[in-house]
């Protein structure tokens, strides 16, 4: 049997970067093949060339043993290549059926298409109502649309781009079942991810990319997560170093019955959230995206003010009525999820961005005038201590890569030595090396007695980092438990179990 897909010497160059450098690997029929690498390793560029979105500058793609030129996504689908994107290419205002019809090249009458959709859904256990509007569906359900759309074409190779980043553990299991069933029927799967335990659980072969080059092709079941991670980043992975004999201090941040108002149709407010974080404690809040994390961060940072002063206290001092600036003065700093536009202004220099959040705590404004020398010095210190790759304090924030900007933002807040730090998705889209540095910085900050709240969808991160865990679901927070005493199943159930089966998102209180 010929190889399903064979890439030989694929090279792709962008202005100033070599995105793929002479990459060669093959996928066998029925194989689940992982494509592994950090952000910027060239995974996306590579699959875009396989799917015909881009053309390689050099090299050859062979399909079932025959050299081919994949000139467009349409041509790819004609060959039998399907793709499920990380960011869904869905149309929110249209129905499931209309969305799927748009992705079909053949013109099938709506009624026949619906029958085929129902058949594929039944065959793979992907339940969905074809007439629902996409805007009303959960993320897991939206992903099912993409999968159904790809499966309708009876693909021989299915490309999955980071499919699990938005799913609960149970949804991940369901997805893996579908993928294993597909593979058993002879469909090859190219699975892009940086979650190593998933790759170990699912994949037969792993191809690892680093800096656009192929580093290794290996059997993930024979490797440890650590060995694969080290191949990915090309260096030894640093463990988080925890200081010896750490003990928690007095309760520092006390949140009691904190609620926010519902602001828009798709926002989930928080409802009577209570928790306590002690000095030196890292408190993790897990949950699937869109369950009130944004409202919680805004309510803690002061962007949304409470009408009850006592709903948030630091060392007993009530903060509920204060705005962001006042809360910062009292020692509560926050880092929102969205880096560009919320945590930092892309069109401002790093120095100016420092002034925005550190001006009061570090005395950068005197008599209404900005002390730009102090801002520059402080920014230089952040750049040096957090190894931010930037030309200097005058660099525009928007010119930094996502990971570097995140390092800068985290550094900007951490070096202010806040007594409470609230961060959302601290390492989202950040490569493993930078993530490890950010984690270490958080642990170090906790070690000097700060209380830290980490809101994240990445369970691995929370498991590695936090002392205590709670789960946010539909705006409500589960009781907190020590991290070590919580099982992954328990967290998964608290996260709302399997989406779709319970229509969880429709049950949001109005």
């Amino acid at each position: 049997m010929p190889l399903r897909l064979q890439l030989t010497g694929i090279t792709k160059r962008f202005p100033g970067v070599l995105a793929n450098d002479n990459v060669t690997f093959a996928v066998k029929p029925g194989e689940i093949h992982a494509l592994l690498g950090e952000n910027g390793a060239g995974k996306s560029t590579l699959v875009k060339m396989i799917y015909g979105i881009m053309q390689p500058d050099a090299g050859e793609i062979a399909w079932n043993g025959q050299p081919v030129v994949v000139s467009s996504p349409k041509a790819a689908r004609k060959l039998g290549i399907g793709m499920v994107f990380q960011h869904f290419s869905l149309f929110e205002a249209l129905t499931v059926l209309e969305n799927i019809a748009l992705g079909m090249d053949a013109k099938i009458p709506a009624r026949d298409l619906e029958a085929r959709i129902r058949q594929v859904m039944a065959q793979y256990g992907l339940l969905l109502d074809p007439h629902r509007t996409v805007a009303t569906l959960s993320v897991g359900e939206r992903q099912r649309i993409e999968i159904v759309r790809a499966l309708l074409l009876e693909p021989k190779l299915l490309i999955m781009d980071e499919p699990t980043s938005v799913l609960t553990p149970q949804e991940v299991e369901q997805l893996f079942d579908v993928l294993r069933r597909l593979a058993a029927q002879g469909c090859s799967i190219l699975y892009i991810s940086h979650k190593l335990h998933e790759i170990k659980a699912l994949c037969d072969t792993a191809t690892i990319l680093r800096g656009g080059r192929l580093v290794d092709t290996c059997d993930p079941k024979q490797e440890t997560s650590r060995s694969m991670a080290e191949k990915m980043i090309g260096a030894g992975l640093k463990d988080i170093v925890r200081p010896e004999g750490r003990s928690m201090g007095e309760p520092k941040l006390v949140v009691s019955r904190l609620s926010t108002a519902k602001t828009g149709h798709f926002d989930v407010p928080v409802n009577k959230v209570s928790f306590t974080v002690r000095a030196g404690e890292i408190f993790g809040i897990a949950g699937v995206a869109g369950n009130g994390q944004n409202a919680l961060l805004d309510a803690l940072s002061g962007e949304i003010r409470s009408d009850d002063a006592e709903s948030i206290t630091i060392d007993g001092f009530p903060l509920g009525l204060l705005d962001t600036t006042e809360r910062r003065k009292r020692g509560l700093c926050a880092v929102p999820e969205e880096r560009n536009g919320h945590a930092a202004v892309g069109e401002f220099s790093l120095s100016d961005n420092s002034v925005l959040t550190a001006r009061d705590r570090l005395g950068m404004v005197v008599m209404g005038l900005i002390n730009s020398g102090a801002a520059r010095t402080y920014t230089g210190k952040v750049i040096a201590e957090f190894a931010v790759k930037a030309l200097g304090p005058a660099s525009m924030a928007g010119s930094l890569s996502g990971g570097n900007l995140q390092k800068y933002i985290m550094g900007r807040e951490i070096l202010q030595k806040p007594s409470v730090l609230v961060v959302s998705q601290p390492t989202w889209g950040v490569d493993a090396g930078a993530a490890a540095a950010i984690h270490q910085a958080l642990v170090d900050l906790a070690a000097v007695g700060s209380a830290i709240v980490v809101i994240s969808q990445d369970l691995d991160e929370l498991r590695a980092l936090c002392d205590t865990l709670a789960v946010i679901n539909l705006g409500q927070l589960s009781p907190a438990k020590p991290n070590a005493e919580m099982s992954i199943e328990e967290i998964g159930l608290l996260m709302g179990g399997v989406h779709g089966a319970t229509e969880a998102h429709d049950a949001v209180p109005a």
């Binding site: 875009k48 979105i53 881009m54 467009s72 996504p73 349409k74 994107f85 869904f88 290419s89 869905l90 149309f91 929110e92 205002a93 249209l94 209309e98 019809a101 748009l102 992705g103 090249d105 013109k107 509007t133 805007a135 828009g264 149709h265």
Partner: protein, 309 residues
């Protein structure tokens, strides 16, 4: 009020509504594809002067309509090239197009002011068209029926055809449509051209249907009402129909109020003239209070399409 007057008012309303309805139907398709073309007024004026000149020189009314559509397309392609191929700001370009259309039509129409042409006659035989009651149905020129047919056709196209689905998809999420493999720019060019043709025909209504002569700025802001009407109708063709006749009614009321006499003049004609805009503002406020998906606005409206690669 007697029956004859009511029928007369009704027929005047239908006539006054027709150019707005035609232009708004075109603009609805343009906006559904995600493009905001504020140059409707300018394209209408180019259509109006083209139609006037053709009728003045040849006397061919239907040729005038076709060439007005062509002139509308040509004008819209200026907008299309700037905003779609060069990613210029759509709002600014649309405004510029209106200024251009106003100036260009005034230039082309120099020396033709107040020269009379003949109106486009009714489509149906004179017996039907002059019958006191039947003329409510049969008494109009082809342009009126064209407007009604286009509303149904556009509804059917957007709702029932695959091409219409693609057009809505492009307006809803251009990047996704691009990644699936549809030509976002191509679809938008086609939509803008359709909008241009419709605006050109709407402009032709002025010399052919309403006042048989050329006057500078003779469209008198109806293009702007058409743009407002699309929002007023929340991008739904049949609401557009209702809205166009409602606006037409209010505009006719303005004329009667101006003419003086009767109960209508109790309200100043300026207030009648302002009513369509006030109504649009009220509707916009109501829509934005609801602030959910049911507003039906195309999500990419007015945003230039910039694929990342």
């Amino acid at each position: 009020m007697n029956l004859d007057l009511l029928i007369a008012i009704f027929i005047t309303v239908v006539g006054a509504s027709t150019p707005i309805l035609i232009a708004a139907t075109g603009e609805l398709v343009v906006e559904k594809s995600g493009v905001l073309n504020l140059g409707v007024e300018g394209m209408m004026l180019v259509g109006a002067i083209t139609a006037f000149l053709v009728v003045f020189l040849t006397g061919q009314h239907y040729l005038a309509i076709v060439l007005a559509a062509g002139a509308g397309i040509a004008t819209s392609m200026i907008f299309g090239f700037l905003t779609l191929s060069l990613s210029a700001n759509q709002t600014a370009t649309g405004l510029a197009l209106t200024i251009f259309g106003t100036g260009f039509s005034a230039l082309a129409g120099q020396g033709y002011s107040a020269r009379p042409v003949t109106l486009l006659g009714p489509l149906f035989p004179a017996d039907l068209a002059t019958h006191p009651v039947l003329r409510i149905v049969f008494g109009y020129s082809a342009l009126v029926y064209f407007a009604l047919i286009m509303v149904v056709a556009v509804w059917w196209f957007l709702k029932k055809t695959r091409a219409g689905l693609i057009l809505r998809a492009v307006g809803e999420n251009d990047l996704s449509a691009h990644s699936i493999g549809y030509s976002v720019i191509g679809v938008r060019y086609a939509a803008v051209a359709f909008g241009g043709a419709m605006a050109g025909i709407a402009g032709a209504c002025f010399p052919l249907l309403l006042t048989p002569q050329w006057a500078e700025r003779m469209t008198a802001g109806r293009g702007w009402i058409a743009v407002a009407l699309v929002v007023f109708a929340s991008w739904r063709p049949f609401r557009l129909l209702a809205g166009a006749y409602l606006f037409g009614l209010v505009m006719t009321m303005e004329l009667y109020a101006k003419a003086g006499g009767g109960p209508l003049s109790a309200i100043p004609s300026e207030l009648w003239a302002a009513l369509p805009y006030l109504a649009t503002v009220v509707v916009l406020v109501l829509i934005s209070i609801r602030r959910d998906a049911s507003t039906n606005a195309p999500a990419c409206l007015g945003r230039p399409f910039l694929p990342s690669n």
